[in-house]
């Protein structure tokens, strides 16, 4: 089980821009030459970012959020044969993730096999807090969840009522999190796609 970095609840720093620049110089004092040069040359641009108010928010118990979009990253050891099974399963799915479509809050997912196929790194961007819908997964898509997670050590099963805690136990909070459109949920994005198309059609008729 990975240990939780202290980032999640670190007290907010309220440094001035000058103090932040000073801090950067200290951090990069023993950096490789490329880094030192980049700091000096890039300082004007960097100063603008450092002057902006904090855009960092937390998502539920662990993890970060920007606007409405949160990140979840778990590091899961495979059971014996788990990597082979999951790889085969994902190949057969061939990029079609119907269950994720149905969930409606998932922006993206990545499945990365690391450490010589002994661990799975799963990372996703989703809307809102992590807690609210996990119980719904247990009654609506338990098989879709069990099919991939059964390949990971200690997975208690979606119907056990313990899966939420198990996922939390394996979660690693990101140190930083960036979202291009932090106010657009997955549902909103799909709605805007439809609206945009309808507007173009309307304009076509007029024009």
């Amino acid at each position: 089980m990975p240990t939780q970095p202290a980032t999640a609840n670190r007290p907010k720093q309220s440094l001035t821009v000058d103090e932040k620049v000073q801090k950067m110089r200290e951090l990069y004092a023993d950096a490789p030459e490329i880094g030192k040069a980049a700091l000096e040359n890039g300082l004007p641009t960097l100063t603008e970012a450092l002057a902006a108010p904090s855009a960092k928010q937390t998502a539920g118990r662990i993890g970060l959020r920007q606007g409405k979009v949160s990140e979840l990253c778990v590091f899961l050891p495979f059971v014996k044969g788990g990597a082979k099974r999951l790889r085969g399963f994902l190949e057969l799915l061939d990029g079609n993730f119907r269950a994720a479509d149905a969930v409606g809050t998932v922006h993206d997912m990545r499945f990365v096999f690391v450490d010589n196929d002994t661990k799975l790194l799963f990372a996703t961007a989703y809307d809102g807090d992590f807690d609210p819908y996990i119980d719904d997964f247990a009654t609506k898509i338990p098989n879709a969840m069990d099919l991939w997670l059964c390949n990971c050590e200690g997975y208690p099963g979606m119907r056990s009522g313990k899966a939420k805690q198990w996922i939390f136990d394996h979660q690693i909070a990101a140190e930083a999190w960036y979202v291009n459109s932090p106010n657009l949920t997955a549902a909103e994005t799909r709605r805007l796609e439809k609206v945009g198309k309808a507007v173009e059609e309307l304009l076509d008729k007029i024009g």
């Binding site: 149905a102 969930v103 409606g104 809050t105 809307d127 809102g128 807090d129 807690d131 609210p132 819908y133 119980d135 719904d136 997964f137 247990a138 009654t139 609506k140 898509i141 338990p142 979606m158 119907r159 056990s160 009522g161 949920t185 549902a187 909103e188 799909r190 709605r191």
Partner: protein, 457 residues
């Protein structure tokens, strides 16, 4: 098989109940009578031994759900907060077995409950959110005389001890026509619970597994929900989210007047906000005008789904009742509606709805509703509802739009009414119900109460 019995709520009991009705507190399964009279009393325990003695004396008078369908309708209910369990000397390992949201209390979960702005705990009435509320006792009856008698029984038990202090006592009661403070008949749609013996009322939906509402039984996913330990403490117990709202009747009437030029237009707008006319008649069945006969008929007033109103041309997607129970509405997020239901026991206080009140002063008249939301995971469900279905609109494609009745509105908020050829968007919707306080209570079974009362140390 029992003989068919009809309950006070109009439900028909045809099956032998499989739940331990003798153990489950009356308020969990008994529908609120009409008319009704009652009092909520909030207490603090200053001495563990005195608190336990109080519990020992009160427990024989706490109503159970046995024969919940019978008309004899006077009962006492009791809930204990986490601070109360501590004050009563419940052992540490047992305390730690309660869920986190319950342990820290409702005020500390303000962020998760979206209790911000005017609803922020810093504006709450004392003693809510102070950590001093240890016990809540509610007396409820269908007659004034029996209510006073029940309250007297409770009073005798807590007045006998110096170690138990009354913090606040609030009477509530029936309003003419059984209307809520905004002038609607409400409390119509309740979840149907498997094993209670009841046949669901038409439209009440499938029976929901008892474990969603009462600890110790299988829930919808199959397994029982996590239960505080030891088993005797958890089984047949449940949780209550206690919320006191003040209704801003002036703001509500001002909004209706600003957006409707005739009485007819105003009443249609009022119905669109709720999804029901004032009589309780649902828009889905009576889209054009109120139908008082339909509203009063428990066999018909909830007998609908949204299959023929997918876009919300009758009942808007964002109206109050469609948010609180979307039924078969197509939602943008994978949702099992059965997992997000609560048993609601609503009680109104203060003067009745006044359709002519339009002044800001009318908003400050103490008048509103106190709700007891009951579920085996009341904390998680209330957080879900506040985050997803009340102070949000994305789940039905409405962006940031909020529940028009119990949502907390931001400046410039709007309400969308689907219409042909184009939807109407009503701007400037205000907050009509302000949260004045709340607490989470554990509602122990009769055996659990006895177990706590007999703790030593």
């Amino acid at each position: 098989m029992l003989s068919v019995k009809e309950s006070v709520g109009g439900q028909v009991v045809t099956h032998a109940p499989t739940l331990d009705l003798d153990e489950i507190q009356a308020i969990v399964l008994r529908p609120r009578p009409a008319p009704y009279f009652g009092t909520h009393v909030l207490l603090r325990i200053d001495d563990a031994a005195a608190g336990r003695e109080f519990l020992r004396r009160l427990t024989p008078h706490i109503g159970s759900s046995a024969h919940w369908w019978s008309a004899a309708n006077t009962w006492l209910a009791i809930g204990i907060s986490y601070a109360g369990l501590e004050a009563l000397g419940v052992p540490q390992d047992s305390l730690q077995s309660f869920p986190e949201a319950f342990r820290v209390g409702m005020a500390a979960r303000a962020r998760q409950l979206r209790d911000e702005g005017v609803n922020d705990p810093k504006h709450w009435e004392a003693p809510f959110g102070t950590g001093q509320v240890h016990i809540g006792v509610s007396a409820l009856s269908d007659s004034e005389e029996n209510w006073r008698r029940a309250l007297e029984i409770a009073r005798k038990q807590y007045e006998a001890f110096s170690g138990v202090t009354v913090l606040r006592s609030q009477n509530f009661g029936f309003q003419p026509g059984d209307l809520n403070p905004l002038g609607y008949k409400d409390g119509i749609d309740q979840p149907a619970i498997e094993g209670s013996g009841a046949e669901p009322l038409p439209g009440q939906g499938p029976l929901i597994k008892a474990g969603e509402f009462i600890l110790g039984y299988p829930g919808e996913a199959g397994a029982p929900l996590p239960m505080p330990q030891p088993d005797i403490l958890g089984r047949n117990s449940t949780y209550v989210g206690f919320r006191k709202y003040q209704s801003r009747v002036g703001a509500f009437n001002r909004f209706l007047r600003a957006h409707g030029s005739t009485e007819e237009e105003r009443e249609l707008l009022a119905a669109k906000l709720v999804g029901r006319w004032r009589s309780g008649a649902p828009l889905t069945l009576a889209p054009e005008a109120d139908d008082a006969v339909l509203g009063a008929d428990a066999q018909r007033n909830n007998d609908f789904d949204y299959a023929n109103d997918v876009r919300g041309l009758k009942a808007p997607l964002g109206c109050h009742i469609r948010r609180m129970n979307p039924r078969d509405t197509q939602l943008t997020r994978l949702t099992d509606v059965n997992l997000h239901r609560l048993i609601r026991r609503g009680t109104t206080y203060g003067p009745p709805y006044d359709p002519n009140a339009v002044s800001p002063e009318a908003d400050e008249i103490p008048r509103g509703a106190i709700f007891m939301f009951i579920s085996a995971k009341a904390m998680a469900t209330m957080e879900f509802l506040q985050q997803e279905w009340i102070d949000e609109g994305n789940f039905v494609g409405l962006g940031e739009e909020r529940d028009p009745i119990i949502g907390r509105q931001e400046e410039g908020a709007s309400f969308t009414i689907p219409h042909e050829p184009v939807r109407r968007r009503v701007h400037g919707i205000d907050t009509f119900n302000v949260l004045r306080g709340g607490e989470y209570f554990f509602m122990p079974s009769i055996s659990a109460l006895t177990w706590i009362a007999n703790l030593s140390g």
